[in-house]
């Protein structure tokens, strides 16, 4: 049975669970049925961050155009253009032991592609969640449902995994911003 988290809650991932080596981050959402003339395309991404909260190089931004981090520690399983269907809409796999030592945390974000031109916001997105699955046993460990807090936002920092005393922890963030992927990228030090 997965642990269900509230916004801002932090939980242990590897502590007490030493066999956990590979995790799968599943992100899902539903969009408003009426498309308003444009399709909804939501994109998940991972930012690999050093101790200063920034990326070290553009390669540390793993998304639909850079699916695999060098060394293979983080792999984006590909872009789902419609968000249709049951289950995860996009998935990111992480091999915790391969994460480079200078990476202190990995943030997971979901952004609406071309949101301004298509006049789309997270106000039209429902049932968004992030879940962490043990990729070896396929057991769901953690689930965080984002709720209905959003209105004008076009980008959401959904959650992150971070190092703490030699172990990995998960933080349920759910912080939304209206400046799209570009605003998040600037904050992480990536030119998007």
């Amino acid at each position: 049975m997965a642990v269900s988290l509230r916004k801002g809650q932090k939980v242990e991932l590897t502590k007490g669970n030493p066999s956990l080596k590979k995790i799968l981050i599943g992100l899902g959402w539903d969009t408003n049925k009426y498309d308003g003339g444009s399709d909804f395309d939501l994109d998940a991404a991972a930012f690999l961050l050093a101790g200063n909260g920034k990326v070290t190089s553009d390669d540390d931004f793993v998304f639909y155009n850079n699916l695999k981090h060098k060394g293979g520690s983080v792999e984006h399983m590909g872009d789902n253009l419609t968000g249709a269907g049951e289950g995860d809409d996009e998935e990111i796999k992480i091999d915790l032991e391969k994460v480079p030592a200078n990476i202190e945390k990995i943030d997971f974000t979901v952004t609406i592609y071309d949101a301004d031109a298509r006049k789309q916001t997270f106000g039209q997105v429902s049932n968004a969640y992030i879940r962490v699955v043990d990729d070896t046993t396929q057991q769901e460990l953690i689930r965080y449902d984002l709720g209905e807090d959003f209105s004008v936002e076009t980008a959401v920092v959904v959650g992150e995994i971070y190092r703490h005393n030699g172990e990995w922890k998960f933080n349920a963030i759910g912080s939304g911003w209206s400046g799209g992927l570009a605003a998040l990228g600037r904050n992480y030090g990536v030119n998007v």
Binding site: K7, G8, N32, K33, Y34, G36, G37, K119, T121, G123, Q124, S126, E148, S151, V152, E153, V157, N171, I173, G174, S175, W177, S178, G179, A183, R186, N187
Partner: protein
């Protein structure tokens, strides 16, 4: 960190959320931001960010809702030296309200991750109807925050005046509708319980509390007599009217809420309009209902209420359709579909338009061959395809 009034802190973040938490009671409070030059005035009206102009063209300041404002410090234009974050009471004078009525007021500054950077509890106010909660200002090439907490009388209009915004009537209050069609709160005569609209007549819904409340639009029509025997049931089935609407939101999004295509809408998310389940049998006494969440009136530009006959002949006279618009605090508005003889199966019944903080309701009752033709007449601009339910 808890700030005292007048305390200043450096801002090390690029992205900030400023949240004004309070127990408002019956007060309708909204936040706004003024992007000011070194003169203390705005450069132009576009530098006033509020519910009617929710995002500054630079993307630096965004009005998220009535209790939060988002700031992207990297996007602030060069001409801006200071951003004043304000809270005002809507129609404070008319309603004889002021900030003495709120409690638990706290301003929260949150960072990129939603973590609190600082909080500021403004002192208790008395007669004030507007507060400058805080200011973000340039200091030696960086940005700082000042916990201002200064109260003013005169509401949003006074602040606008101070900051160099010309206040038009539309900005602070809905434009006054023609007198014979108005039913204000402090009228001397008894408010009628029901008003039957004439074709082309427009009245405004009355905003009583802090929001409009739930607006229910009911369509009812005549059922065939129940005692007409076994064969009568087949011969005289009456007609089935489907209630639906087209909507256009302030941000330009548009669409339809109708049973066809299962577009039942949502009250909590856009379009803030929802259709109760379709009563296809015509058995239900109550007819069909569309609901509008009055809390989000600011997000909605206009709504066209229409009906169509999915199956059967266009016998409008037999149906004697009646639409009733119910809104807490307003008289019921009755729109009778009292024109008959049209072979067309789609009828635009009433148009709701945003006139500030409320809707005007206009009787239309005009017939169309299909939704597409109606859409074109009202310039809605949706893509129509044939649907089934």
């Amino acid at each position: 960190m808890e700030l005292r009034k007048g305390q200043k802190i450096a801002l090390n973040e690029n992205l900030l959320k400023i949240i004004f938490e309070r127990n408002s009671g019956a007060l309708d409070i909204d936040m706004a931001a003024f992007l000011l030059q070194s003169t203390g005035k705005v450069k132009g009206d576009e530098d006033f960010v509020f519910y009617g102009n929710p995002r500054h063209i630079s993307g630096s300041v965004t009005h998220c809702n009535d209790d939060s404002v988002e700031i992207d410090l990297t996007k602030i234009p060069r001409h801006v030296e200071k951003i004043s974050i304000t809270a005002t009471i809507y129609e404070a004078d008319e309603r004889k309200q002021n900030f003495s009525k709120i409690s638990g007021a706290v301003l929260r500054l949150k960072d990129f991750y939603g973590t609190e950077i600082a909080t500021f509890a403004p002192e208790r106010f008395t007669v004030e109807t507007a507060i400058v909660l805080g200011e973000i200002y340039r200091y030696k090439g960086a940005w700082k925050f000042n916990a201002t907490g200064a109260g003013y009388k005169g509401g949003l209009a006074a602040l606008c005046n101070d900051f160099g915004i010309e206040v038009s009537d539309e900005m602070t209050a809905p434009p006054p509708p023609p007198p014979q069609k108005t039913y204000s709160n402090n009228q001397k005569f008894e408010q009628p319980k029901k008003i039957e609209l004439r074709k082309g007549q427009r009245v405004n819904l009355i905003k009583r509390g802090s929001t409009l409340g739930e607006i229910v639009i009911n369509l009812n029509w005549k059922r065939p007599p129940q005692n007409s025997g076994f064969f009568g049931q087949f011969l005289n089935r009456g007609i089935d009217l489907d209630l639906a609407c087209l909507y256009e939101l302030k941000d330009g999004r548009a669409g339809a809420v109708q049973a066809l295509g299962n577009l039942f809408g949502s009250l909590t998310n856009a379009p803030y309009i929802a259709l109760d389940g379709d009563d296809r049998t015509g058995e239900s006494e109550g007819g069909e209902n569309l609901r509008i969440n009055g809390k989000f009136v600011n997000k909605i530009q206009r709504i066209l209420i229409f009906t169509f006959i999915y199956e059967g002949a266009a016998n409008w006279e037999e149906a004697q359709g009646v639409v009733t618009v119910k809104c807490p605090g307003s008289p019921e508005l009755i729109v009778r579909m009292d024109e008959y003889g049209s072979e067309n199966k789609t009828c635009a019944i009433a148009l709701l338009e945003n006139v500030g903080e409320t809707f005007s309701v206009e009787k239309i009752v005009r017939f169309y061959h299909d939704s597409k033709e109606m859409d074109e007449d009202f310039d809605w601009g949706l893509r129509w395809t044939v649907g089934r339910k």
